[in-house]
Amino acid sequence: MLEYAYYPGCSLEHTASPYDKSVREVFKALGIGLKEIDDWNCCGATMYMSVKKIVGYAISARNLAIAQNMNLDVCAPCSSCYTILKKTNRHIQWDPKERAKINEALQAANLSYDTIVNIRHPLDILVNDFGLDELKKHVVKPLNGLRVAPYYGCQIVRPHHGFDDIDDPQTMDHLIEVLGGTPTEYSSKVRCCGGMLMTTDEEVALKLNKNLIENAVDNEAEMISTVCPLCQMNVEAYQDKINSFCHTNYNIPIVYFTHLIGIAIGIAPELMGLDKLIVKPEKLFAVEREALI
């Protein structure tokens, strides 16, 4: 049986709770084990690294030190956590002196990080470990050709994480096809949503997100699917602001890729927090209802 250590990350507790719920439900329905890392802490994100690097890596490594005793790969759904945890591993492997410093800091909490724990994104796990052929067998409510723009954003493919192409990734495209949807071909699939700029320099971020939505809609997307909490929040929760700032009138649902899987394999929308989205994914609900008749 496939099994992973689960590192939800801070966003999945709040703004991205629909992501957390859908990951847990989909893994459960497919029989993939998911054990939450006990009492995990924040990975430090980009922000800790810009204040004090060694502290950032040390607190990130606390999670890995706890996870190493579970003897499982770590599943990290947030693109930012995914990148930071991977960077922590890379840093530790790069220089034995840095590794010694990080372990010295961990020692203050009676912890040590001796092996290297694999960090995996659930998209990678579901498509490459579980497999699309296997997933296809579980599809009971195919997406009826629903046109979904796969939005990968930045930190799931960059810097060089290895499981997909940095400029034209295909993993989510193939997934959408297997679920019975039609992946939108558009050029912005790995363009940046602005990340924290939505807080620090809003106008810049609003324009980036407007360009992204425009590109997806111009290529006939009915919905956008994401893999990252910050992307989802920026494109969805700020859609009203994007519209008033850019004089547009978009109302496109932004779901997590796990929602598409969940609906297709017959999980109830409320169990996955789909009712908590701001722009209701009506067409996804329609898939769910029609198949019931």
């Binding site: 709770s17 924040c42 060694i54 502290v55 040390a58 960059r158 929760a237």
Partner: protein, 195 residues
């Protein structure tokens, strides 16, 4: 400009320069910055270079010309959204994003910031949150940043905040991890160990 002023300026620049070399040698492939061709691929790949006062390519050129103070006073390093496009496209493998993080650390250590763009305050608020709770407290982080930078933004963002709160997607009360003492001990120890 008086001679004394110039001397002080040179000393500051020298000091920043040595801090910068220390920083770029403290992460994998940081020293590849020496190989910069000034081709501009970083700037061309950057989704926000059009709103930077100094582009990523110019940042490296200014460093070579001995103008680190000017770089730290620019908005550039605080605008970077960490998309890593420059990093993966650089033909000589310069870790541009990591280099900008290194510059942020120097800016915070030396307290040299751009005018009217207090993004460093967000990083500081974040760091305080982690020490207090062990996890990020999104609502508190947003509020403390807006209060520090421009309180009017607090009102402008209230709509988004309320719509998230009403859907249970924004916690009102911060969650503290059980073993917060562990996180604090690690932070305290690591703080003594270097940059």
């Amino acid at each position: 400009m008086g001679t004394n002023n110039k001397l002080t300026q040179n000393r500051t620049e020298e000091d920043l320069r040595s801090a910068f070399w220390g920083q770029v040698n403290s992460f994998p492939e940081g020293d590849k910055i020496k190989n910069c061709l000034q081709c501009g691929t970083c700037t061309g790949s950057c989704p926000v270079s059009d709103v930077m006062d100094i582009t990523p390519r110019q940042t490296i050129a200014l460093f070579r010309a001995g103008h680190l103070t000017e770089i730290l006073q620019s908005r550039t390093i605080w605008i970077c959204a960490s998309c890593y496009s420059c990093t993966v496209r650089c033909p000589v493998g310069i870790r541009v994003t990591d280099t900008l993080y290194a510059l942020k650390r120097i800016a915070i250590e030396k307290k040299i910031y751009p005018d009217n763009f207090p993004v460093y305050a967000l990083s500081k608020a974040f760091v305080n949150n982690i020490y207090r709770y062990g996890r990020n407290y999104e609502l508190g982080l947003g509020i403390s940043f807006f209060l520090k930078s421009d309180y009017k933004k607090l009102f402008k963002n209230m709509g988004v905040g309320l719509s998230m709160i009403s859907r249970g997607r924004m916690g009102l009360i911060p969650k503290k991890i059980k073993k917060i003492d562990e996180v604090r001990a690690i932070i305290n120890k690591a703080n003594q160990l270097g940059e």
